[in-house]
């Protein structure tokens, strides 16, 4: 938990900075709007956390989000009755993609960034082939409500986010979470002490696929059909997780910090926007964060461990 603290300080600092530029930000509606906007990325980061802490990567979530939204629009085609079956189908599709990623990575022993990079390309290629670059159909109003509407003053996406966050924290505290971290820290040792490494990692990929499905539901609801909705989300999610102090390569970090990392990234983008800094800078900022966070982690850690050992 000590390792997670810095990110909360950074997040608080950024929120204060936003509030200084835009005092309206502290009002409940504005703040909820911010949380609502951050929700898909936070959910993706939570999913990505499970994969990263187990020692793997999931690069496929961005194109999975796009595929989900495009498929949903085509299948729903504006019809209210189709909404719930299609939502169920989206969840199932996310889980299946995760299962495939996990099975290929653990059973066939393909490195996960190759597996999921392949999945990224397969999904984006398939979407392009199927739609020809121009998605068809439309999402129903009922579907849109989840990402756009609210229950009283609280947006649905914020409620969904709270539920997802609670479930994620619960999962990391349960036995599953401990075995996952053990597998990420040293899979050999974990396996020798009875952890079914292949199974927990596959489940981690399925959680990531599930998080992509939920994020797709929220993003599609928020802004409607687009063939670019998931573009770059995999890197935003990984940046967020790394920013939260989770170690690439696995074994260390908390899911709360990973989600805080996603909020921080979103807050940073909001702040850049408030200062009128062009959105073209966002990828550059992300790149700097990834490199800096990983470099800092690699430099600082030996000392901390040496101290602990002595």
């Amino acid at each position: 938990m000590r390792r997670a603290l810095p990110i909360f300080v950074v997040l608080a600092g950024l929120l204060v900075a936003i509030a200084v530029v835009n005092p309206y930000f502290l009002e409940p509606t504005a703040f909820l709007a911010f949380v609502k906007r951050a929700a898909p990325l936070v959910i993706l980061a939570a999913g990505q956390y499970f994969v990263i802490v187990s020692g793997e990567f999931d690069l496929s979530v961005g194109s999975l989000v796009t595929a989900e939204v495009v498929i949903a629009a085509r299948l729903i085609d504006g019809s209210a009755e189709a909404t719930w079956p299609v939502l169920a189908l989206m969840i199932a599709f996310g889980l299946i993609v995760g299962l495939v990623n996990g099975a290929v990575t653990t059973l066939l022993r393909v490195p996960s960034f190759i597996t999921t990079l392949g999945m990224l390309l397969i999904l984006s290629g398939a979407v392009f082939l199927w739609t020809g670059g121009s998605p068809r159909g439309a999402l129903s109003e009922q579907f849109r409500q989840l990402g756009r509407g609210s229950l009283g003053p609280v947006p649905w996406s914020v409620l969904i986010l709270v539920a997802v966050a609670a479930a994620a924290v619960w999962a990391t505290r349960a036995r599953f979470g401990h075995t996952l971290v053990a597998a990420g820290d040293n899979d050999r040792a974990a396996a020798l002490s009875g952890v079914r490494v292949a199974r927990v990692r596959t489940v981690a990929f399925m959680i990531s696929g599930l998080s992509a499905a939920v994020a797709a539901i929220l993003l599609g609801g928020f802004a409607g059909v687009s063939a670019q909705v998931g573009k770059g989300l995999e890197f935003q999610a990984i940046t967020a997780v790394v920013l939260g102090g989770v170690v690439l390569g696995g074994g260390r970090g908390s899911v709360a910090a990973a989600m805080a990392g996603a909020f921080t990234l979103e807050a940073l983008f909001t702040l850049l926007n408030l200062y009128g800094i062009s959105g073209a800078l966002e990828p550059a900022v992300q790149g700097v964060i990834i490199i800096a966070a990983v470099a800092l982690g690699a430099v600082r850690f030996p000392r901390a461990r040496a101290a602990a050992a002595s």
Binding site: Y24, G224, G249, L274, S278, A280, G287, I290
Partner: protein, 407 residues
């Protein structure tokens, strides 16, 4: 030690992966006008009197003046077939290309990677299909890559084509390839130009300045003096989009409006909605929204709806989702267009050239704007949300099914 090296390895792998993926996503944004962005992103403009910043490096006064004149000019040709019309045609003689049919037409396409090009490409295929004298039509898709298009053009010139249609991916890079093809086969260029006059004809709508000006003038007309305008652009540095904004800048600079922001959206609906929401928060309300392309106009409208505010005057484009929103929500709106019917014209031009009929050296097609008065004409229930209304495809065989619609 083992875990260090693994961490470094992971970081290195991630860094390496970032590069190619970033490179391919930069091809993806879909400026409705055409394919890949060219040139490096320019720095964002600093504040000036009207908040519009510095004029774009791509702004050419003479081109701007010419396009403003063309907007007022009366096109010649059948008014029910705007794809056959032309503005100010300087006809040239094509007798030397005359030959007997049947014909083999070839087409080097920049890409079909966005809805605008999708609709256009289907329209062109349908136009080809209705001419019996075209017995063979060879088309190569460059997938948004200059190098592929250069080799595509070289390949097509060796295929015995009677005429070659080119929709260049970028202007400067494709110029030598087109110059190389000109001596071997009559070349027709459309959409984007090339920097040589060797093609027999160059077909284009009036252009980006006309698009940007039509939208900006509408806002100047509808928004009260002092009103706050938000300008949304897809991305900087792309000539066809820079011209749209630079013409709008000219109009706003002459007006009493205040441009409170010029933002880039990457053509992404969620980002557009977020940016507009941010501005509504910051300024309490906005009095007008200018957009350089219509693909995300509906997202911008929804940002106002979700904030519980009336939607101010706004411009979109001729895509069905926007037209439907306009009609349903009774917006004050205009939709300048970059008509997809221009994909019919190159086929018609090729046949004219091969029959030895005169064609304009620069074939300027009319570029109408959809207004409140003619909105109902262009709103086509049953067509997909991203269909472009000015496809000019309604009379072609296979409409509406081939364009994804239902009758």
């Amino acid at each position: 030690m083992l875990s260090y090296s693994r961490r470094f390895l992971a970081a290195a792998a991630l860094a390496v992966l970032t590069l190619p993926v970033a490179a391919c996503t930069s091809d993806k944004p879909a400026p409705s006008a055409s394919g890949a962005p060219s040139g490096a992103p320019a720095g964002s403009a600093g504040p000036a009197d009207k908040g519009t910043g510095e004029q774009s490096k791509f702004f050419v006064q003479a081109d701007y003046d010419a396009q403003m004149a063309m907007r007022k000019a009366q096109p010649t040709g059948p008014s029910d077939k705007p794809w056959e019309q032309s503005i100010d045609p300087q006809l040239i003689d094509t007798a030397k290309y005359k030959k007997a049919g049947p014909y083999h037409l070839c087409f080097s396409n920049a890409a079909v990677d966005n809805p605008w090009r999708q609709v256009g490409w289907k329209t062109m295929q349908a136009e080809v299909a209705q001419h019996k004298e075209i017995t063979k039509f060879t088309a190569l898709d460059a997938e948004g890559k200059d190098d592929k298009q250069i080799s595509d053009i070289a390949e097509l010139t060796g295929k015995g084509c009677d005429a070659l249609i080119v929709s260049p991916n970028t202007t400067a890079t494709l110029t030598p390839a087109v110059s190389g093809a000109c001596p071997k086969v009559p070349v027709i260029v459309f959409d984007r130009g090339v920097q040589t006059d060797c093609p027999v004809t160059f077909i284009k709508p009036i252009g980006g300045y006309a698009f940007g000006a039509a939208a900006a003038e509408f806002l100047v007309d509808k928004v009260p003096a002092g009103g706050k305008i938000l300008a949304l652009r897809i991305l900087p540095g792309v000539d066809v989009l820079e011209t749209r904004w630079s013409a709008a800048k000219v109009a706003f600079d002459k007006s009493d409006l205040q441009v409170v922001g010029v933002e880039f959206t990457d053509g992404d609906a969620a980002k557009t909605k977020s940016v507009v929401s941010d501005y509504i928060q910051r300024y309490g309300k906005l009095d007008g929204v200018w957009m350089d392309a219509g693909a995300t106009a509906v997202a911008a409208v929804e940002a106002f709806e979700d904030a519980g505010q009336p939607v101010p005057p706004i411009n979109g484009e001729d895509q069905q989702d926007f037209l439907k929103k306009w009609s349903d929500a009774k917006l004050t709106a205009i939709a300048p267009t970059y008509p997809t019917y221009q994909w019919r014209t190159p086929v018609i031009a090729a046949l004219k050239i091969l029959k030895g009929e005169q064609v304009p050296k620069v074939w300027n097609l009319p570029q109408p704007a959809i207004t409140q008065e003619n909105l109902a004409t262009y709103l086509k229930p049953g067509m997909p949300p991203l269909h472009y209304a000015l496809c000019g495809c309604e009379d072609l065989p296979g409409y509406p099914e081939k364009w994804g619609g239902t009758s």
